[in-house]
Amino acid sequence: MPDAGALSHPFMQRALLAAALCGVACACIGTHLVARRMTFVGSALTHTLLPGIAAAFLLGLPPHLGALAAAAATAALIALAGGKRGGGEDAAIGVAQSALFAAGVVLMASSGSWRDFGGMLFGSVLGVGEGDLAWTGVLAAGTVALLLAGHRALEASAVDEDYARAAGLRPALLRLGLVLLAGAAAASAVSLLGAMLTSALLIVPAAGGLLLGRSLAGAMLWASVIAVAGSAAGLVASYHVEALPSGAAMVAGCCAGFALARLWRALRG
């Protein structure tokens, strides 16, 4: 857990707050993705957000804005490419991932310098500024608020799509909404973890939370605990060990949380 020495630095305070905010958002939406067997969406978002972030970089806009636009494009592509024939949603996600990642590579190549994109790919959690923190806070709070507002409908459609449809809900639209919210949560984390590591925050704490929670809400709560505690532990470890990259350390902390959850589940039988 954070020690006094690490917490005395404003950059660490900002990093810890940002990690907690996007950790909770990613853990909550990630729980829905993992429970619904939609983890592929979490992985695909790491590729599909790339063109948005690259375009934002080239235009001098905040990367979060570009990531958000790319998340919307991801959802739209999945809706357009999906369908019962031709592989369904899985294939549509694969198509969106390939198309948008290729667009991202083209945009990065057009800048003439690949070195500029290092922070975009792997993030810089210790370099989070006030502006990044504000973006992260707004996106994370918005994601969690929408998830709470729609929890009953999302839960019912996750448990039993047929019943949800008969009750007047539209499960396919709810799934697209989840992709959008996952994109928003991922956008909240891009300045911390970059495009390549963000999916870990979406998937790993959620997988641990689902081992511990007896309800979807309980799993979201446990996932949030794993995300916040794992990220904080990773950040502090990276503060003390210079060779340890902060983003990778956060992911390692979350993986340790998952391992503990798995161990507890194994011991309980």
Partner: protein
Amino acid sequence: MSCACEHLALRTRGLALRPAPGAPRVLEGADLEVPAGCRTALVGPNGAGKSTLLRALAGLTPADAGSLEVNGAPPRAGRADVALLAQRPRLATGVPCTVGRLAEMGRLGRAAWGFSLGRDDRERARRALRAVGLEDLADRSVATLSGGQLQRALVARALAQGATLLLLDEPYVGLDAASRRALDELLFGPALAGTTVVVSTHDAADLPRFDRILAIGDGRAAVTLACDGRHPHRHA
């Protein structure tokens, strides 16, 4: 016709249905009537259109021709008075859910959005679980239920919903003898008194218990075969 009452729970005239757009019709020119409160068996060979008819009654499949009324109004998704228990319910096993929470989902149509339920909604779900004999299992994970217990939990969800027309698609499939008896006690017992129950089934041994039998044959019109009125909870 002792199970008849003035109010019809469902009524079709010249009904034709397709299971999916562009698919061949599975039902054609069907004139059906089921009085409220009847226990009705829906029988017919595979592919005759039993599931499609139940889905149409739940508002999930539109009529291809003819008319269809449920409790005096055209069916549509989202009606609280109709509940469909699908064939081999496909509950997502990866989603943690307790029996109590499943029953509470019956209140979804009353307030689809939001995080928490009102006290009345929770109490109604609890009463529904008590009615189906699962109150003690409210905290159990749905994933640990037997097939029969799951069917009863789904009936509890329908009761919590306030459904007056309960549609069950092949509910006996995969149940052992004890589970079948428990489900029968529920479907033909006091918990569902006054509720119209339509059950699709393949098993001729099930039929004598029902007030009314709707038979669908060879993709043609459905006909009412019997209405013996032996059920004690029928409407007079």
